[in-house]
Amino acid sequence: MLDSPKNDVFIGTQSAPGAPKGLVDAISEIQQYYVVERTGSTIPEDFFTLGGKLAFFEVGFKGGFLCGLVSALMTPIFIGVVEEHIPIFGSSEPSFYDNIFAFLIAVSFTLGYTSFYATLGRYYLGELAKAAVKNLVAGLVAGAILKFVIVFIAYHFMYFIVFDPVTFGKWLLKFECRLLPVTRLDKIYQFFGDFRHVFLTSAYFMAFTTILTIAIPIIGITLGAKRMLAQINQEEKWKAKGKEETSGVTEDD
């Protein structure tokens, strides 16, 4: 809260401008930078402070990591459906449609989330907006790569250590009680004994989703920026043509 000389009290947010808390905040700020720079005001890149750059990077990083965790959860289920370990729509023998649908579910969160970033191409204009977009996307790429490394190691850990038949069997027997008799534990053991191979396939499928996470925003932003630039050039041509026509009319008069 700030006190003015007239003792008026202004209630405002504590966060400094240029420090978005989430993706929606970051996109809104980029939109503001774009509007200011599009209307003719030139803002030097240094206006975008180190704190601001880090804040945009952090938003992108968190997003890339979170998005990756959701796809890391969905990927073994998708591979499990394809390899007929997990039923989909009540069927353990999935059709072509079912396999495609399981694939779509596995990548849909990544597609949806990165589509937000892809829309930033139309605001990729001016030093400030460009710097903000670059930091946001750099954060997303860093988060996605870190997620890939962690998930890749985790899946291999699951395959070689956690679900290793001997280790898993010993570990499972510790849970034997009235609620979980040996017959039930045996069913769980058999299921994970077959299912563990899914983790290896999933680890390599995660490379594909990571490439998607990185490629969609970069391609979207590049195409969007080109389209925006072409639109601006066209508008300038029209303006110049309009001026020529009006000056021609006044000379004739």
Binding site: P87, F89, G90, F101, I105, S108, G112, R184
Partner: protein
């Protein structure tokens, strides 16, 4: 305990109107029809489309995530229930 003495609470128990067997059968029928086959595929596909429509195009993230969760339940709900009964 006064609350349970109210006649309306007693009337809310479905077993006052139908036998336990038909009540269980009703739920089994609902799960068989909703979480299996054509209806599951249709509802899941529509939910996924709505998830993208609201979440990405209309930028209503909450609604998008809700439809995505509905899609997941439709696709894998049957498997989860089957696993619960399989382990029984």
């Amino acid at each position: 305990m006064e609350l349970f003495a109210l006649p309306i609470v007693g009337k809310m128990n479905p077993l006052n109107y139908v036998a336990q067997g038909s009540y269980v059968e009703l739920w089994q029928y609902l799960f068989r029809t909703i979480l299996h086959g054509f209806w599951a595929r249709t509802i899941a596909a529509l939910s996924l489309v709505f998830a993208f429509w609201f979440g990405v195009y209309r930028r209503r993230v909450g609604l998008g995530i809700t439809f995505f969760i509905i899609c997941l339940i439709m696709a894998y709900g049957s498997g989860i229930f089957r696993a619960l009964f399989y382990l029984k």
